[in-house]
Symmetry: C2
Subunit: 415 residues, 2 copies
């Protein structure tokens, strides 16, 4: 044998903590979900775009606040400081700055792709996970904020979610905090996790003044008077006009979002019945992010579905899709008929029918078990008798019924 | 404003050498191609699977011969040695070993995903590129080799390639070289690039004996008598039965493939009219790879389409798909009718029709130009007159024809 093992020591087959394999059944369901989300994104006129997994590290730095330490970064073979994509928004801003003059605005794109965060793995949190993002770049129209949010919500509906809540806020409501706003926002962002008292004691430990803490409390309790209440009401009305039920939308002054780059509208979508999954979608307006790479300012608004958290929530609700794409297994019944089996498989595939061909003439029982374990709905059996008559036996794997049929009838049944 | 820049120094917006962005037009075409390839894979009964981008470094080492230095590896935040996926085969072998007892064999999976190689960027070669892989694990049937190759070729046909050539060989034909086989294989693998003389002088510099060099020359010239000629003829016949034209398949004893892990069948697919793109697909049987992680041996055969190279070749042939998914742009004609426009957009989207809504009531000319630049086929214009009559004007952006139609007619035309 040509191939020689470098060493007889076995390497333990394992995946890194926070990383996952998706076997065929799970991946089929995931792909179906991605497809549905993609359809909704395209129905709103968002088109796909792709950026690399690796970026120059400097592109990513200074955007994520205290979470910056979670960026996977390293020196590549050419001694360049590189980093793995932490979200899909910062690479988009880099792309916009790099291609500014060549683009048509409003530039509407979606991206469905994995990102990496060296986070502490816990329920619903992974180090590698997918995001489904939409962004409108180059428009300050209030309608673009509404479309991003409505489209995100429609995508959630498309994968079977109905009991969600969109929470809206405007970050400019935090301008009352002056220079310490960024710090206070990061603490208020933890309100859901650590509660009012938790936020207050964090603010105290940060040395925030008593009157600012009092204002923060009012905001979290919903008793503060908001400067941008009217804009938020208009935004809510626009989202409703774009097809989202009003019961699904609340204005919530405590929504802050941790990321540094949001400038006005911020939102998140949660599943009230499953608070353990946190927000399954979030986003906002970020009118100054592109400025970091460019002399020209480009406004933008976007949303991001944290699809892995969502899929886990859906799987827990039993919404997984397990229908087989393979319509039939051609049973390898008689060694002498190998060529007939391959010819039949080729004919059916040419008709757009997905079929599997069992490779070896092993015991029938084993072959039927294979079809069952893969949830293939039909088995096709052809022996010399059937071949002579120009027919096949078609067995419904669910009902166990078996019928004799011509090739034409076979194609009709499987199509 | 809440958002404050960390620094006024602009960061140059740029991508790493060997990495690419794909803007909407290119990415639409890519997704369409991926979809076609996926359909073919599924028609042969391959199901999707996904593995992480990062693996423990030790999982990847010792598999790629001298190319091992091209693996992107680094220490993560937890001081673990990790590496980015170099191909889709080694992670599959790791997955098989890890889940051996839980899987149903033959295990047939496909994976369409990017891999990373710190290669020297050149025409058609990138540091980040997609592979489309299919593998049959757990079968030694000759038919599984044939299916992998036929299915790969069918996938190439599905994206518009017809003038390709499948070159088949059996690595066991190199067993005549005894212990120096691995070294000699790696040199013969460069035959296409550096020619007969190049391989010979490389073998000489490696200190290979004169009689072995003579045999290598015979193999490359096609004059060697092959030990596994019969098996290769049978493989070729099976591939033809699975729907591939015989003119597309040659047995070529000089095909070696550089990777260490192949054990018998090896193949590659080239486009003779575009030799500069090298092989667009390759693979083979690797019956001992899983052994490295497991006490139990699991045979396997697979193929991999180097889809980026293929897409570049297709793009050069002008096969790019540029049809718009967005069917119409709703013109923002009258500020007073905003609510009518959003309502119409929502209605059409609910019918599964992708439409864009222009966000602001700017000059008509600008809005029509936007539709043109995005190749949107129709524009919908509704002013107060039309609204009163319950109609819209539908403008064909290609012919410039404009017709008045009811909502019902509109849905019919755009569906």
């Amino acid at each position: 044998m040509i191939y020689e093992r470098k060493s007889m020591t076995k390497i333990e087959p394992r995946t890194l903590k926070g990383f996952r394999d998706f076997g065929p059944e799970k991946q089929m369901a995931r792909q179906a979900w991605f497809g549905k989300i993609q359809n909704v994104f395209e129905s709103f006129g968002f088109l796909p775009m792709a950026t690399p997994v690796l970026e120059y590290k400097e592109i990513l730095m200074g955007k994520y606040g205290e979470d910056e330490k979670l960026v996977y970064s390293f020196k590549d073979n050419g001694d360049r400081d590189v980093a793995m994509r932490y979200d899909l928004t910062v690479p988009l801003a880099r792309y916009i700055a790099e291609n500014q003059g060549r683009l048509v605005y409003p530039f509407k794109r979606y991206q469905i792709a994995p990102v990496w965060r060296a986070d502490n793995p816990q329920k619903g949190r992974f180090r590698e996970f997918y995001q489904c993002d939409i962004d409108v770049v180059g428009s300050t129209a209030a309608l673009s904020d509404a479309e991003v949010i409505a489209c995100s919500a429609k995508a959630l509906e498309a994968v079977g979610l109905s009991d969600y809540k969109i929470r809206l806020n405007d970050r400019r409501n935090f301008e009352v905090f002056g220079e310490s706003a960024s710090d206070i926002i990061r603490s208020i962002d933890k309100f859901d996790k650590i509660g009012l008292d938790g936020v207050v004691s964090e603010l105290e430990s940060k040395g925030v003044s008593a009157d600012k803490i009092a204002t923060a409390k009012q905001i979290m309790e919903g008793s503060a008077s908001l400067q941008y209440a009217e804009q938020l009401e208009k935004l809510r009305a626009d989202i409703i006009k774009l097809g989202i039920s009003e019961v699904n939308i609340v204005i919530d002054p405590s929504i802050a979002r941790g990321l540094d780059y949001y400038t006005s509208t911020v939102f998140e979508i949660v599943i009230p019945s499953m608070p353990e999954f946190g927000s399954v979608c979030s986003g906002g307006r970020y009118d100054s992010l592109v400025d970091q790479y460019s002399e020209q300012s480009v406004p933008a608004v976007g949303g991001s579905i944290g699809v892995d958290r969502l899929f886990d929530a859906l799987a827990e609700k039993g919404e997984a899709n397990t229908e087989s794409v393979v319509k039939a297994l051609i049973i390898n019944f008689d060694e002498a008929l190998q060529d007939e089996y391959t010819a039949l498989a080729t004919k059916l595939r040419a008709q757009g029918i997905a079929v599997e061909l069992y490779y070896e003439p092993v015991k029938l029982d084993k072959q039927f078990k294979y079809a069952e374990s893969k949830q293939i709905p039909y088995a096709i059996v052809m022996g010399t008798d059937e071949q002579a008559k120009g027919v096949v036996k078609l067995k419904n794997m669910q009902t166990r019924e078996q019928v004799e049929c011509s090739e034409e009838e076979l194609i009709k049944t499987l199509s």
